[in-house]
């Protein structure tokens, strides 16, 4: 156990992986000399050199595709895309190639690739740097999607991702980088397991990534109001730990899903549908969602905050179920 920030946890995990496995290398925009747009890779160039810490031109599609090719060629690449909005430039490679190759080749080829990127809003970066599109990626069979919300998970899920035989997309909510917490050494996590962050009997609050902290604060406020909320951190959107979700809702009979992404077609809708399919008879109230407002992310602080789920809006949604 060591106290560190989320940013350091990601960096330490990459360092550990590169020390342990010569096949692992990092590439992306400004990951080397600049030290990473979010300073995640700061210091790695000095230790591993430019061969393994590779700055790329601004060509997301090709350096993500090159990650796929390198994985096919026997390497264990980590590709950093600066933000999720930029990852759209690489959607072709991720969706048409990374996700399909194993199946399309009849199982002959796999793509053990880790693609990391920052996601989410809350930093007044407006409508081209703030969205939460991880749910789009979770739509796609062939890739795995992890969303660490804690320092320990940032490390654990990254190391687990590098053990996968398949492409993993890791979404790091940008407001989490300075978050401090305990990082656990040595444990290899299993991708696809949610975490029970708080036990409660009255309602299941289901969140992931940047929404987890707000959800936990909401749970604390609800406790003051006499509502005992359970909090589930999904950690992985694909595969999704449906079992834990259903078990929890079966105990509490109520569910509220919290997500920064837009409500329409969002990942919360998927979770909601799983609950309907698997725990309908246990429900004592309709499943509720607290999601981002249906608007491109505005710049002004008050507007941006209003566009994001907040502990207050979560509390209100929960109260509406009783």
């Amino acid at each position: 156990m060591a106290k560190m920030t989320y940013r350091e946890a990601v960096r330490d995990a990459m360092r550990e992986a590169m020390r342990a496995d010569p096949r692992v290398f990092l590439m992306g925009e400004d990951v080397g000399k600049y030290g990473g747009a979010f300073a995640v890779s700061h210091g790695l160039l000095e230790e591993f050199g430019p061969t393994r810490i590779r700055d790329t031109p601004l060509s997301e599609s090709t350096f993500v595709g090159a990650g796929i090719g390198a994985a096919l060629g026997g390497m264990r690449p980590i590709v950093e895309v600066m933000t999720i909005n930029f990852s759209l430039l690489a959607l072709d490679q991720i969706v048409n190639n990374a996700a399909t190759l194993r199946h399309m080749s009849g199982g002959q080829f796999g793509v053990p690739l880790l693609v990391r990127m920052a996601t989410g809003g809350g930093r007044q970066l407006a409508a081209q740097h703030s969205h939460s599109l991880e749910g789009w990626y979770a739509h796609i069979p062939g890739i795995k999607v992890v969303t660490p919300a804690t320092v320990a998970d940032a490390r654990g899920l990254l190391l687990a991702a590098l053990k996968q035989a398949d492409p993993v997309m890791m979404f790091e909510h940008a407001t989490l980088y300075p978050l401090e917490g305990e990082s656990e050494d040595g444990t290899i996590m299993e991708i696809g397991r949610a975490a029970l962050r708080r036990r409660g009997k009255d309602v299941s609050l289901i969140a992931y990534g940047g929404a987890l902290g707000k959800t936990e604060r909401a749970a604390a406020q609800l406790a003051q109001l006499g509502i005992d909320a359970e909090v589930i951190d999904l950690r992985s959107l694909r595969p999704l730990d449906t079992e834990m979700i259903l078990a929890s809702v079966t105990r509490t009979h109520r569910a509220v899903i919290v997500e920064e992404a837009w409500k329409t077609g969002g990942f919360a809708a998927e979770v909601c549908a799983r609950i309907m399919e698997g725990a309908f008879d246990a429900l004592d109230a309709p499943v509720a969602r607290v999601c981002g407002a249906e608007v491109p992310m505005p710049y002004a602080q008050a507007l941006e905050q209003a566009a994001l789920p907040q502990p207050e809006s979560i509390v209100k949604a929960v109260q509406g179920l009783f």
């Binding site: 008879d281 429900l283 004592d284 109230a285 179920l321």
Partner: protein
């Protein structure tokens, strides 16, 4: 399990009256089912042979729609297609009541009123159970519904405390804790809750209008006295039977008051089945049907009426009696009230009420005279009819009662 009332969601199978292999004619009573309101006979609307009994009598509350037995019909001649059983009934409520709730405890002699003409027997629909109309579905969470089934609590008897009045798990648990142990009490309690639910719904959904009309009963009572004179007690008529017949016949003239409000529109009934409000000892009431009240003789109506009262109090009404009424007639005569403005039994369209006949000064031919007067009232569903039609109806009742010999 047939649905024997709009609010019925489950029932217990008390007894089978037919054995496997036995022939069954249309209208045969094949089983007895206990609802929250009564033990009810289950009639078969099919002809054939009882192929197989699927459910044995017991304490289990079976949801409406549960197949109870298979009847092989001959019409089909298709042996692989036995018709699933059971009587089926249109979704009709059997619980009318009046605003004057305090007057509900009945004396030994009942004083309901009644009646009506009518026509075709209810059409048989061979599916086991009709789904409840969308608008009638109570808000209840899936968890609460399941818990209620487990605890054998009829959700229809519950009042929801959740958002939008939804019945929640907590409501069911509370009801379970409050439920009394003894069956008779439970039955009463459930009936009370069923009445509460039906009446609350009626007041919530049906925009009532109320009309009243004072009718001179002098000629009718005089005719009745003359007719009863010299007859054995068992052959005598009571005046309530005249009221039932008049009320039923008048519906032929204003048929839009007879029938149901289903799926946002009025559906007139060709048959006139008068639901007669009968209060029970220990509280509560039912309003089983006198079928085709408009077509029965006064003597038949009298017999039918007495039989209904007896069986209602023994909790042994037939399913069709409970579910068929197309209108409700209530009389609080002999309780001393002058008039009753009743609450319509959903999904019916109207309720006819009669107060106590009282001797009053009344102007007859320019002279003040003492006459026995009765106040007839009509509660109408304003979605289906307007006061003008209602007024024509009460006028018809008045006119009919002035010619008792024609009834």
């Amino acid at each position: 399990m047939p649905r024997l009332g709009a609010d019925m969601t489950a029932g217990k199978l008390v007894k089978w009256l037919k054995r496997p292999g036995e022939r069954i004619k249309r209208g045969d009573i094949i089983a007895i089912v206990e609802t929250d309101k009564a033990n009810v006979d289950v009639e078969s609307f099919l002809e054939g042979a009882l192929e197989k009994i699927l459910v044995q009598p017991g304490d289990e509350r079976l949801p409406v729609g549960t197949p109870l037995a298979l009847i092989r019909t001959e019409a089909g001649a298709e042996p692989a297609a036995p018709a699933a059983v059971a009587a089926q009934a249109a979704p009709r409520v059997a619980v009318p009541t009046a605003d004057a709730a305090s007057a509900m405890v009945p004396p030994a002699t009942v004083a309901p009123a009644a009646v009506a003409p009518a026509a075709v027997p209810p059409r048989v629909v061979p599916t086991p159970v009709p789904p409840a109309a969308a608008g009638e579905r109570a808000r209840i969470s899936p968890a609460a519904r399941n818990r209620a089934l487990e605890l054998r609590i009829d959700p229809a008897t519950l009042t929801g405390t959740g958002p939008q009045g939804r019945i929640t798990l907590a409501d069911v648990e509370r009801a379970a804790q409050a439920a009394p142990a003894n069956t008779a009490d439970t039955r009463q309690l459930r009936m009370r809750e069923a009445i509460a639910s039906a009446m609350a719904r009626s007041k919530r959904e049906i925009p009532h209008y109320y009309l009243a009309c004072t009718i001179d009963l002098g000629r009718a009572l005089a005719w009745l006295a003359e007719r009863n004179a010299g007859r054995a007690v068992t052959g005598r008529l009571i005046y309530a039977v005249l009221l039932i017949k008049a009320a039923a016949l008048a519906l032929r003239e204003v048929p839009e008051l007879n029938g149901f409000w289903i799926d946002n529109r009025a559906r007139q009934s060709e048959a006139i089945h008068a639901g007669i409000a009968i209060s029970l000892r220990g509280g509560g009431l039912v309003a089983p049907a006198l079928h085709h009240a408009d077509r029965q003789s006064l003597d038949d109506l009298m017999r039918g009426f007495q039989d209904l009262v007896k069986r209602a109090r023994a909790w042994s009404l037939k399913s069709s009696e409970v579910s068929d009424p197309t209108v409700t007639i209530t009389s609080l005569g002999e309780r001393g009230v002058e008039s009753v403005f009743g609450i319509i039994t959903p999904p019916q369209l109207a309720l006819v009420g009669f107060g106590t006949p009282l001797e009053r000064p009344w102007v007859v031919g320019g002279q003040v005279a003492v006459r026995p007067l009765i106040t007839a009232t009509l509660s109408g569903d304003h979605r289906a009819t307007d006061g003008h039609r209602g007024a024509l109806y009460l006028a018809a009742v008045d006119r009919l009662l002035q010619q008792p010999e024609e009834l």
